[in-house]
Symmetry: C2
Subunit: 533 residues, 2 copies
């Protein structure tokens, strides 16, 4: 926090500045909608400043981690400004995790604060939270809600006081840590910088054609890559955040027209739910829907188009601040047959406007030919690649070997420069846009007393893209049903990570005894041209 | 050009990357239109790469200044990518200057290259260009045009060769120098950085709501603040550049519908010409027109609205990469009476999305009250403030005193945070968006053998905003007519800088003999509430 030499032509980039500007220029414009509650930009800024003061009053030191476990509510949005403005680092925790998983993240990140939505309090109840300052959020927006009482007690920022974020003297400072499951079983903490989030937010504005009249519906979890940085992007255009506690297609249809929504994002499973809802009908105003986590199917694309949704297909990872590539719509595609259009749009495309060109590389970092056939690993680098894994220098070095981030995704490079994913190097299942480590699931299954050994692979699923399937061999003389195995897993794993199916079988092995998971995957994915969905 | 430590999360920002991306993603999309000529993004990139190779072949060394004297043609646009990609610094020279002035800029910048449009060659003919490599641009786009022959001879970038801009290891490197007239008479060279242009380009995209379907008409000179960085912004959204050699309202009307123009920019005089052209009629598609250099009058705003032009009022200086503030349209303004709307929109507004908050300050850098009445100087700092004046450290220090850029513009701060200009601290006339130094005009007038002394002040002008008026006292016994004085000035000054009027009079002076220019200004501006137009 040293004094910087005065260079009038240099300001450290931080997405907090977007809130300051929108609150100054459009103080009376509605910034946040949450059911009956509405906050103007002036009110949003005031709430953020109060959160800063509350954190400071509670003893937050520069660099302290502040965990939020919350659905998409105003407090969760406020955290994206208040925590970094206070000098803290935001750890937005996946709300689908169980107690053990949340406990691991709180411990690994060394969080000193935990803000927890009342609905999720049961998840944290079994944990030893003695080292943390815990604040419950009732999401009531009124006195009596501990979060609201905290803001009230903290008081407003006195006029003329310097902005709290004036501490920022290096735009590469960490703004947030987002935990994501890897192959090692335990989630890793992906560090984002102020600079990266600022640039990625501006990139999202261009990628999804957001303008001043943007009304953004929060179908995507804010905990997921900080909502792909849309927590900041929507504010950059002085748009409107429409909060949503859970993805409920009927409620989404109410809000689409009731609030004049122009944009929302999600994995295909979100969009499938929306287009198949009984309330679905063609919209007067086109709505831009960004799809990631898995390519949209021709069926989904057709349905979206009929209802006047404009689909934007993007691809990225937690390690790339969310979307890194976009399959931009091209002049002339409108007139193609629907299947051809869908085939082109199902590709992951090219780097977005603030990203460096994406590569598909061999083991020794040579580019694969642009033939749409040769497999290689997708590699990225640049301002929207993570700073590293928190407190895991070895994992960081491994991910950054050769000076590039290794995605673990296997794909091809088409002659036009678009990449297309075909397989996954790492043993990861992507279900509804969230990572599941197969090893983590295997370890849970293996803890069942009747299980001798097990292997978990991804299997295709129409709704979620992929789901885990467990292949299990039992101990001699022992017995268990599939239902018992799944129920056992639920005690140790978040529900979405538990096997969707259990098959009792001898596991295929190499002569040296190594389980051949590819044999199991081949069987489950036979007849398909790719091994991911 | 040293090796940087490998940080996979860091890429130096440069607007050259926008061209690389658009050429990769949209190679077949039309990037440039110039009369019958059209270049796709693939072709534009190829031409830029050839320009780089030509500059390297001709001996360009890193940091060399490359001057372009050209209207808004494809080569002028290509220079904005090719010169910095080659490691050079672009000096885009005002095409309205005379030989002496152009000679000064070539000399002061130490340019090693001069690219000159054939129409402007007479301006450079009297100059000693022996130290420069000179290339004529016939703007023919075909063999026989020296510029085209140069590109042809340079050859295409070999496949697989690293991008030429890979030299960039510091985003704060100078990308261009833009000369602007100041109070000292001689123009000063304003240095822009790669980082500043990158960020300002993204800011312009948001300020003017540019999306992927943008068709931008080049009414604004590309030499003026590098076209307010729209040279790069249009490419960032993969939009279309429609070139225009000169502002010709009839031609503009042809292009508006013929090319489906969505955006164009300029000083009010440009827009006044457009709305009053015989071809003017209401457009089916709204066109965003950005106005700067002087506030749009209620009359102009009314005419723009009737014709379906959406006016965006911005304000800035060469020292701020062009626009710094924008008077954003507010919800509710549509329903206000036309005069009230115009009054609100005529204010200069607030900092744009990538700019730091603008201030209005006293001599000792205290903020004036937000009362819409107390005068102060407009001050800025941040990523869209110049790096400094080229080779003028004293002038730079003076401009940056107190750690802020001092604009020399006098204004007020309204209660809502919008600034409004009222006067000018420096003796500068802004005519059609271009600076004219009163001292420079005075010096030219004073060189006339009959002139004893003279004072030049700005006077309001309906078309140009302001024009210079000279007050002259003659030597005893000498005589001269106004016409003779103006004709004499034309020998030494660009036409737009010559007095629009000459009045022979005794000059008002203080008791110590200092000319009281404010007395002359007061007389010319009486009955107005501000002293600028």
């Amino acid at each position: 926090m040293s004094e910087q030499p005065t260079r009038p032509y240099r300001t450290e980039l931080s997405p907090i500045s977007f809130l300051r500007r929108s609150a100054s220029v459009f103080p009376d414009r509605t910034a946040v909608v949450h059911g009956e509650r509405r906050y103007t930009y002036r009110q949003l800024e005031d709430r953020v400043d109060r959160l800063v003061r509350a954190l400071h009053a509670a003893g937050l030191e520069p660099g302290d981690r502040v965990a939020f476990l919350s659905p998409n509510t105003p407090p969760m949005l406020e955290a994206h400004y208040g925590v970094p403005a206070a000098g803290g680092v935001l750890v937005a925790v996946n709300t689908r995790l169980n107690s053990e998983e949340v406990g691991y993240i709180l411990g690994h990140s060394g969080a000193r604060f935990l803000f927890v939505d009342a609905e999720l309090e049961p998840v944290t109840e079994p944990l030893d939270l003695s080292g943390l300052t815990v604040v419950r959020i009732d999401d009531a927006g009124a006195a009596g809600d501990p979060y609201e009482d905290l803001l009230e007690a903290a008081g407003a920022r006195p006029p003329g006081e310097p902005l709290p974020e004036a501490w920022l003297d290096d735009e590469e400072a960490t703004i947030s840590i987002n935990y994501t499951s890897g192959t090692t079983g335990r989630p890793k903490g992906v560090m984002y910088t102020h600079r990266g989030c600022y640039l990625n937010a501006l990139g999202e504005v261009i990628t999804t054609s957001m303008t001043n009249d943007c009304v953004y519906l929060w179908t995507l979890p804010m905990f997921h890559c900080n909502g792909w940085c849309f927590t900041w992007a929507v504010t950059a255009v002085a748009g409107r955040h429409v909060c949503l506690r859970k993805v409920d297609p009927a409620r989404i249809w109410e809000l689409l027209e009731g609030e004049g929504v122009t944009h929302f994002n999600g994995a295909p499973t979100v969009h499938i739910g929306v287009v198949n809802d009984p309330a679905a009908h063609r919209l007067d105003q086109a709505v831009t829907v960004t799809v990631a986590g898995a390519p949209p199917s021709p069926t989904l694309l057709g349905q979206l188009g009929e209802l006047n949704f404009k689909a934007v297909h993007v691809y990225g990872l937690t390690e790339t601040y969310g979307p890194y590539t976009v399959c931009d719509w091209h002049d002339g595609w409108d007139s193609l047959p629907a299947d051809e259009r869908a085939r082109l749009l199902s590709r992951q495309g090219q780097a977005n406007v603030i990203a460096d060109p994406v590569r598909v590389v061999t083991e020794d970092m040579a580019d694969v030919p642009r033939d749409g056939a040769t497999l290689g690993e997708v590699a990225m680098r640049g301002n929207d690649v993570m700073k590293g894994y928190y407190d895991q220098p070895d994992a960081t070095d491994e991910a950054f070997r050769g000076g590039w981030f290794h995605s673990g995704d296997i794909g091809v490079m088409h002659p036009d420069g678009a990449i297309e994913l075909r397989d996954r190097k790492k043993d990861i299942i992507i279900s509804g846009g969230e990572n599941i480590s197969t090893i983590e699931v295997e370890q849970a299954v293996a803890r069942h007393p009747a299980v001798l050994e097990c292997a978990v692979v991804a299997v295709p699923d129409e709704k979620w893209g992929e789901r885990p399937k467990a292949f299990v061999s039992l101990k001699p003389g022992a017995s268990a049903t599939a239902e018992e195995i799944v129920a056992f897993c639920r005690e140790h794993l978040a529900g979405f990570k538990c096997p969707a199916a259990v098959e009792f079988t001898e596991l295929p092995k190499t002569s040296t005894g190594k389980v051949q998971k590819f044999v199991l995957r081949d069987k489950e994915w036979s007849g398909r041209d790719r091994r991911i969905n």
